[in-house]
């Protein structure tokens, strides 16, 4: 199963994860 997020954000938004990285609920994905 997969969860896809699609969202509008300011250009200053930055992902804080890398492809292939394991994440858990509540961990940072990105920030403005």
């Amino acid at each position: 199963s997969t969860v896809v997020l699609v969202f509008e954000a300011p250009l200053s938004f930055e992902f804080k994860v890398g492809a292939g990285q394991k994440v858990k609920v509540g961990e940072v994905l990105g920030d403005v």
Binding site: T2, L5, F7, E8, K22, G26, L29, G30
Partner: protein, 423 residues
């Protein structure tokens, strides 16, 4: 048998040409008559095709939905109590589940593998980070980035249409059914309406200035008191006698409280969704903003409930009935339009930066998607062959009745939203 197994020589010989020709005809027939090649709408905006190497076409020929349902049925069977701890420990060992963090550590209490698969976690084992966007699920980040030209990159070099993925606004489409989700809170549905900044919400004859309710200042301590107009005094009870308790249960007072609560929620979220009619397709991005995406893959051993990744308001959901291909990284690299072909639930709404969409996508082993606040949603249902909706079509439900001011269902960051079930 042993001798036959060891001594019988393997003899390879070519299949007759006719068999190969029949196979090709069967594949072509299936491709053209079972909806694999589909126009999303009658205007030809997007065509979804089953594309990929031969392995993909072999998988496409399998009855994946029926297999998924059978898998779900088998995993719903109640297991003997003595077998449960052993069986679930073995499963956890194979798929890497952490049994220390599950809510109910007594494994005999999980009746089936499906029950164990949809397990809860202990409170506090998933702290929510202080960030605008957090992970909605346990899993692996497959891909992320910025969406350009309304096309989402599935893997490097392979894209799919955002419109095909989320659906396009087309209320006249006969395949789109609008369902109003029954509200669970005490609101007056008849008087619910979308209003502009300058308008007032009118509920039970009491008018509220939304500007005052939502506030435009920067402090959270602002009082959100509704303004009652002189002409809108609630009519007294016909009996003329009211006890203090009855006064407390006055419906208009309850509505007033709910409105004030919703306004406070909206203020704290920084979201004002019901104030302007805006598209929820994500195509009207504000200047200085961009559309982003991230794909998180949940492996079989992962915790399979998903949570709200931010504070946002879900305004509608679109349920796309499709195929149930595996969504593993192996398939994502090979099957184009994988996420457009598969069954999925697109939850669309707004957050403080604009459009926000969250899409749980089903797979062969986990075809059922649950949304906690949407009991009307039914996924991976058995459809008779003739009435099976073609891929690309969806049924739509709006959550506007959940809150008159917010125009949808408000969710806090980290709040559990639903999950995936086996089969």
């Amino acid at each position: 048998l042993s001798a036959a197994w060891k001594d019988t020589p393997t003899k390879w010989y070519p299949l007759p040409l006719a068999v190969g020709a029949l196979l090709l005809v069967a594949i072509d027939y299936r491709k053209n008559h079972t909806g694999k090649e589909v126009h999303l709408d009658e205007h030809g905006n997007e065509v979804v095709k089953l594309k990929g190497p031969w392995q993909v076409h072999v998988l496409g020929a399998l009855p994946l939905r029926n297999l998924s349902r059978l898998w779900g049925y088998l995993n719903s069977l109640e297991l003997p109590v003595w077998f449960r701890p052993f069986g679930f420990r073995l499963y956890s060992y194979i798929f890497g589940c952490n049994l220390d963090e599950i809510e109910n550590t007594d494994l005999t209490q999980y009746k089936s593998l499906g029950d164990f698969f949809y397990r809860r976690l202990k409170d506090g084992v998933r702290p929510i980070a202080d960030s605008v966007l957090v992970s909605p699920a346990d899993g692996k980040v497959l891909h992320f980035g910025t969406i350009s030209d309304l096309h989402v990159e599935q893997v490097k070099g392979i894209t799919y249409s955002l419109d095909a993925f989320l659906g396009v606004e087309n209320p006249s489409s006969p395949s789109s059914t609008v369902i109003e989700i029954p509200k669970t809170e005490h609101h007056d549905n008849k008087n619910h309406e979308v209003v502009t900044d300058e308008e007032f919400a009118n509920v039970n004859g009491i008018q509220y200035s939304l500007g005052n309710l939502l506030g435009s200042g920067s402090t959270k301590s602002q009082q959100h008191q509704p303004r009652k107009t002189p002409t809108s005094t609630p009519s007294p009870s016909s009996s003329g006698t009211q006890t203090p308790d009855q006064t407390h249960l006055d419906p208009s007072q309850s509505v007033q409280d709910n409105l004030a609560h919703d306004a406070t929620v909206a203020y704290e979220m920084g979201v004002r969704p019901a104030l302007r009619r805006r598209s929820t397709s994500g195509s009207d991005v504000q200047e200085g903003h961009a559309l982003n995406f991230v794909v998180i893959y949940l492996a079989p051993g992962d915790y399979h409930r998903f949570h709200s990744p931010t504070a946002w308001i879900v305004q509608k959901r679109r349920h796309f009935v499709g195929e149930l291909f595996s969504v593993s990284p192996y398939m994502a690299k090979r099957l184009q339009n994988l996420f457009v072909l598969n069954e999925r639930v697109a939850l669309l709404g707004r957050w403080k930066h604009g459009f926000f969409g969250m899409v749980p996508v089903g797979a062969t082993n986990v075809g059922s998607i649950k949304i906690n606040f949407d009991s009307a949603l039914r996924t991976n249902e058995l459809h008779p062959r003739r009435s099976h909706p073609p891929p690309g079509t969806y049924t739509e439900a709006t959550y506007s009745s959940a809150s008159p001011i917010l125009g949808g269902k408000p969710l806090n960051k980290g709040e559990e939203m639903g999950g995936f079930c086996l089969g």
